[in-house]
């Protein structure tokens, strides 16, 4: 598979799995439990499946290593999203939380490299 097709397949699989996790989140209650699916491993499963098919087993473990950093940053994002959304509204709150995700991910990346 060429690099362009790999990216296309990765994008389609990621979109479909994110939709599938969101769908599960929509049909379960209460809201707090449903929220778990908003931080589900949808993009990760799609990305790792394509990595497995194209690059092999060893690379999946390396992706997992990097993902540990991203997941720690995700906890920071989700924890800060609640107060930030309340204080700033959805758009601005989400944007600031995204900056927090990027800052924590960058810090974590510095630690593992």
């Amino acid at each position: 598979m060429g690099e362009v097709w790999t990216i296309v397949v990765r994008g389609l699989c990621g979109g479909l799995l994110v939709m599938a996790f969101a769908l599960v989140g929509e049909i379960v209650s209460p809201k707090r439990f449903a929220g778990i699916f908003a931080a589900g491993p949808a993009v990760a499963l799609a990305g790792m499946a394509v990595t497995l098919l194209v690059l092999g087993e060893r690379q999946v473990a390396e992706a997992g290593h990097g993902m540990v950093v991203g997941a720690v940053a995700l906890v920071a994002y989700c924890a800060s999203a609640v107060p930030l959304t309340r204080r700033l509204g959805a758009t601005a709150g989400s944007a600031v939380a995204m900056v927090i995700w990027a800052a924590v991910a960058t810090l974590g990346w510095e630690l593992i490299t």
């Binding site: 994110v18 931080a39 997992g64 993902m67 997941a71």
Partner: protein, 133 residues
């Protein structure tokens, strides 16, 4: 009959109420994040791409969807609180894949990691529910 509001329930009938534009937006967020993770992986290596596998795609889409509905802030806050639990589960998912994928075939390692994510997130939910009653 148990009327506990914190009890986990599945409502398959809610599928009919799901907004297609909302699902479309989530698909778009998932697609874009997956492409970014792939491009980062191609340019800077698989480990760097792995960082973006935990990008808050669904959460960001959810927050974007309610940007004009100020009254939705409370349910979104509930979503986000649940997402913290799911995110802690994601650390477990990533550690499982990292630790297992070199030792056992990657496909079962990913399946096991997904089960671990679900179990850890559900246990955290039940623990939080117990201590916040």
């Amino acid at each position: 009959m148990n009327d506990d509001p914190g009890r986990i329930r599945v409502h398959p009938e809610k599928i009919r109420e799901i907004s297609l534009p909302g699902m479309g937006l989530r698909f778009a967020f998932g697609m874009v994040v997956s492409v970014i993770a792939g491009l980062v992986g191609q340019r800077w290596g698989v480990t760097a791409g792995g960082v973006f596998l935990a990008f808050p795609a669904v959460m960001a889409a959810t927050l974007t969807l309610i940007q004009d509905e100020e009254h939705s802030r409370v349910p979104v806050a509930q979503d986000a609180r649940g997402a913290v639990l799911g995110a802690v589960g994601m650390i477990v998912f990533a550690v499982c894949v990292w630790a297992l994928a070199g030792r056992v075939p990657a496909a079962p390692a990913m399946a096991l990691a997904t089960v671990a994510w679900m179990i850890v997130s559900a246990i955290l939910y039940l623990a939080v529910r117990r201590y916040t009653r």
